[in-house]
């Protein structure tokens, strides 16, 4: 069995220092990897990123993250990424990584993703330059996710996870006002996931949404925004290889 812990939208700032650390320190008991689905900070400042870094630094499980829109607000996502990387986090944007758990190999492909909407109710690449760029940017994010998932296919992974901040499906947005769905996700992400294949898709961003959804290709989707899951993180059990041993020591290995 492979154990995936995940949470997004923790929105940390100086006043929330230390709130999640006690729960995160229990992770080796319940999970093989922690996925952070973006919006880790409130404004995307390096100062806030250092608060996040202190929450996860030195944990005995690997941590893989994507950034969210909040983490871009201060226009220094590279600095935020660097602070998190210094704390040992693998920050993905159109990339993939493999983490080890016993004999199991867990592949994670990640991108922040972007909006645009869902089939029949989505933005088109038409009109003003800013509108075309909106859709092109979303498409670029989806394309890199697809490429990253395909890259994992050749790396002998036991499971492949798609990690995004924006949602690939409307299912997990239920509870949000339908009028803002185009700002919460894009079908392009789901199309990429279905084209390349994945065992699970995890995202955040939609605080008022619901946890469970599925792509049209049958990939299960989970909205792990902290307001949705109502805990420090949630844990998902996936079937692993026979050789993988539940509860085996977790190694910090991989690409």
């Amino acid at each position: 069995m492979i154990r995936i812990a995940a949470v997004g939208d923790i929105h940390m700032g100086p006043e929330s220092k230390g709130l999640l650390r006690p729960a995160f320190e229990t992770l080796p008991d319940s999970a093989d990897v922690l996925l952070l689905a973006g919006d880790l900070t409130r404004h995307g400042t390096p100062e806030e990123a250092r608060v996040v870094a202190r929450e996860i630094e030195g944990l005995a499980v690997p941590v893989v993250a994507v950034l969210g829109n909040h983490d871009h607000h201060a226009d220094c996502p590279d600095e935020v990424t660097a602070v998190l990387q210094d704390a040992g986090v693998r920050v993905l944007e159109g990339q993939a990584t493999v983490v080890g758990s016993g004999d199991a190999r867990i592949g994670v492909a990640g991108t922040k993703g972007f909006g645009g909407g869902f089939v029949g109710r989505c933005a088109g690449e038409f009109g003003e330059p800013v509108m075309k760029e909106f859709v092109r940017y979303s498409r670029r994010c989806a394309d890199t996710l697809r490429t990253a998932l395909e890259e994992l296919e050749g790396q002998d992974c036991d499971v492949r996870i798609a990690l995004t901040h924006f949602s690939p499906v409307p299912d997990t947005l239920a509870g949000e006002p339908p009028e803002i769905y185009p700002f919460l996700g894009s079908y392009l992400l789901a199309e990429a996931i279905d084209a390349a294949g994945a065992d699970l898709a995890v995202h955040g961003h939609a605080h008022l949404g619901t946890e469970h959804g599925m792509t049209s290709g049958g990939v299960k989707v989970r909205n792990v925004a902290q307001p949705v899951i109502g805990r420090a993180f949630h844990v998902y059990h996936l079937a692993g290889p026979e050789r993988a041993t539940a509860g085996a020591p977790v190694g910090r290995v991989g690409a």
Binding site: I10, R231, H237
Partner: protein, 95 residues
């Protein structure tokens, strides 16, 4: 003064309408120091209701303070909760 000019235009003073003030509050919550997009602001009769989940109690208090400062004369009800940071008590068997 013409009869036309003497009449009050239908939209005159509309900038003070509660719906516009609520929209501006939402903008200020998002783009201001609080960076908060996860709070729902609803007009309920003559009052305003704030709901949602935020990272901390201090964050909730800051949001309520801003709302009351921006909506003087309007009762502001707050049902915002702080995010639960407890360890989960179960896992989901996905497969």
């Amino acid at each position: 003064m013409s009869e036309h000019a003497a009449r009050t235009a239908a939209g005159a003073g509309g900038a003070q309408n509660l719906d516009y003030r609520v929209a501006h509050l939402a903008d200020h919550l998002a783009a201001g120091d609080l960076g908060e997009l996860g709070v729902r602001i609803e007009i309920r009769g003559e009052a305003v209701l704030l709901t949602g989940t935020v990272p901390s109690v201090q964050c909730r208090d800051d949001i309520l303070g801003l709302a009351r400062a921006e909506l003087p004369g309007t009762p502001v009800h707050c049902d915002i909760v702080a995010a639960d940071t407890a360890v989960p008590d179960h896992a989901e068997e996905v497969e």
